[in-house]
Symmetry: C2
Subunit: 357 residues, 2 copies
């Protein structure tokens, strides 16, 4: 199986792709596209889905040079663990991991681009870069989309724009999102208010794994809800304005915590540090919540900036499939919690002490 060595080297390169800087971890754009001559995936039969997959893989491979180091994978050929690994890394959706025959994904060599085939639409093209900046991500994905369009006959209407399986994706077929780390708003219990306020402005707030997922580790995916009516540039502009307001609120919450609830904040950070250093049984969810607090401690300069990369890597590595792939073992939940805490204790043994002053 070729996935594992690919993952190992790509994860190494891909470290620069996700999670950087305080508040906004990464910027992501995805485009929904469909081929004109086929029914949407959920209405296509197996042979049509296989046709779509092979046509899309062919087009993708033609424009992605061999040296770029990408990989084209059929979902049905992946193990449960491999599929879960790709979900944890946000390279495929949970929906695609459950897809039947004819579903696939192309992943490029640094994990910054993935193209899902026969998920809800024929193509779901995703591009991700670290930090908060729609422009370079848009340029990269738009170039790729234009190139793909030369090989594939996209379903497009002059009235509705790109045609998609779900009407919420009509028009640009674009969803732009950022991953935000909002521990200040979570600790201050203001997230519910924020989610309510922005939903009136056409903005969706979701947990780290998209639709229907919980917000583990105070990480939220924030995106435009509708793709029809506005141009891409207008969507970016609106979204950026709102995201800047959320960033300001997050930084404000942190300041208030530091000024008027210092002991409470220090207690949270200290306990997180103490448990990561000394725990023997830590669930995936708890680990992400504890690491989130350590990331906040780095933002507040209670821990050295050079530890940020380690924490961001652990955010990935403590997840169930990542853990089992590192261990080379299938674990039950108890064994995972135990192995995870061993990993965390080892990593945190290297840490200099938390400098809360």
């Amino acid at each position: 199986m070729k996935l594992l060595p690919f993952i190992e080297s790509s994860a190494q390169r891909g470290r620069s792709v996700e999670n950087s800087g305080p508040v906004v971890l990464s910027t992501r754009i995805r485009l929904a596209r469909n081929l004109a001559s086929y029914p949407f995936p959920h209405r296509a039969n197996v042979s049509q889905r296989r046709d779509i997959l092979s046509r899309c893989f062919k087009a993708v491979k033609e424009m992605m040079p061999e040296t770029e180091g990408g990989v084209a994978l059929e979902i049905s050929e992946l193990s449960v663990l491999e599929k879960q690994f790709l979900v944890e890394r946000h390279l495929i959706s949970r929906e695609l991991s459950n897809a039947e025959a004819g579903a696939g994904v192309y992943i490029n060599g640094d994990l910054s681009c993935s193209i899902m085939i026969n998920e809800e639409d024929h193509l779901r093209i995703q591009m991700i870069k670290k930090g908060f900046n729609f422009k370079p991500v848009w340029k990269a994905i738009n170039d790729l989309d234009t190139a793909l369009e030369r090989h594939l006959d996209y379903a497009f209407s002059h009235e509705y724009g790109y045609l998609t399986a779900c009407p919420t994706n009509l028009g640009t077929g674009m969803r732009a999102s950022v991953m935000m780390h909002l521990p200040g708003l979570v600790i201050a219990a203001h997230m519910e208010k924020v989610i309510k306020a922005v939903s009136h402005l056409g903005i969706a707030v979701r947990g780290i794994f998209g639709e229907g997922s919980d917000a583990n580790g105070s990480v939220f995916q924030i995106s435009n809800q509708l793709s029809l009516g506005d141009s891409e540039a207008e969507i970016f502009k609106k979204l950026t304005a709102i995201l800047n307001v959320i960033i300001a609120h997050e930084l404000g919450s942190r300041q208030i915590l530091l000024e008027s609830k210092k002991s409470r904040l220090y207690d949270k950070l200290g306990r997180a540090y103490g448990i990561l250093k000394n725990g023997y049984f830590v669930s995936s969810e708890e680990a992400m919540n504890l690491l989130s607090l350590i990331r906040l401690a780095i933002d507040l300069e209670f821990l050295p900036e050079k530890s940020r990369e380690q924490i961001d890597r652990l955010f990935m590595e403590v997840q169930p499939a990542h853990l089992q792939i590192v261990a080379g073992n299938n674990f039950d939940a108890d064994e995972r919690d135990s192995f995870r805490s061993d990993l965390l204790r080892k990593e945190f043994a290297k840490f200099s002490r938390l400098n809360l002053k």
Copy 2:
């Protein structure tokens, strides 16, 4: 006010009195006695209560040489903080701390003996020694009682023995108890079963501060329920047999935890250690529960035996009144939790690492 310097030096000497060894921390006996010529305290008027107090203090002082360093205190002259301090040290009961005029306590120089006056009975004589051994405690309290009887006219009936305000104390007027540290039974969730089983055998199990108190830090006070019908020797014999069974169950529970739930046990111990070392906001109750786990870690040789004295001292010092007397300040609850965690972090900074292997 003479209480504070007395407390400081006595606490120093008194360290050897309470908390020693695994499972049984200390052995305690108390006798209920009343003067023949006065109504019981709750039926006596203020002038009678004052008479009783002065007669009892006089008798006590006559037999306790000045050099022994004891102190006789009128409850009405103590501050709220001082009364709470004496409750935390088990030198007076909560009931006495709330008593009106005419209530007092005599405390000897190493805090091993206290005589409450005008609590539920005219005299409540208490003697405590570390470890598990009724004989020496009985000898000491019996000698004291005999000496007191030479100066005081006890209410005694040949049919009912010593007469007491509450019929459950008739007969010997004696309650014998031990303080037990039972974290194994608490973690295994077997305490309820134990309490139920021994209550059928005439044994009462209470939290650390006696009747109606919660079991903080897995410390339980276990005593005979009735004092009538059996001689003192028979009470000690029955009680000792049952306490030995409880000790065996406690040690058995610890062994089972080590053998079949090692990760879960290590996790509890590791987290306790991590929070004590890094917390910034620790309540009195949580502190006692965390210290209880550290005491268990010492029993299991994961921490050096020489740390036991430090942990037993902290068990006392983290309590609200102790904390405020050390700080020389009246704190609100938040300030206490903050000051307590500062003390704990400082003490645990000295600790060598938890050696869970």
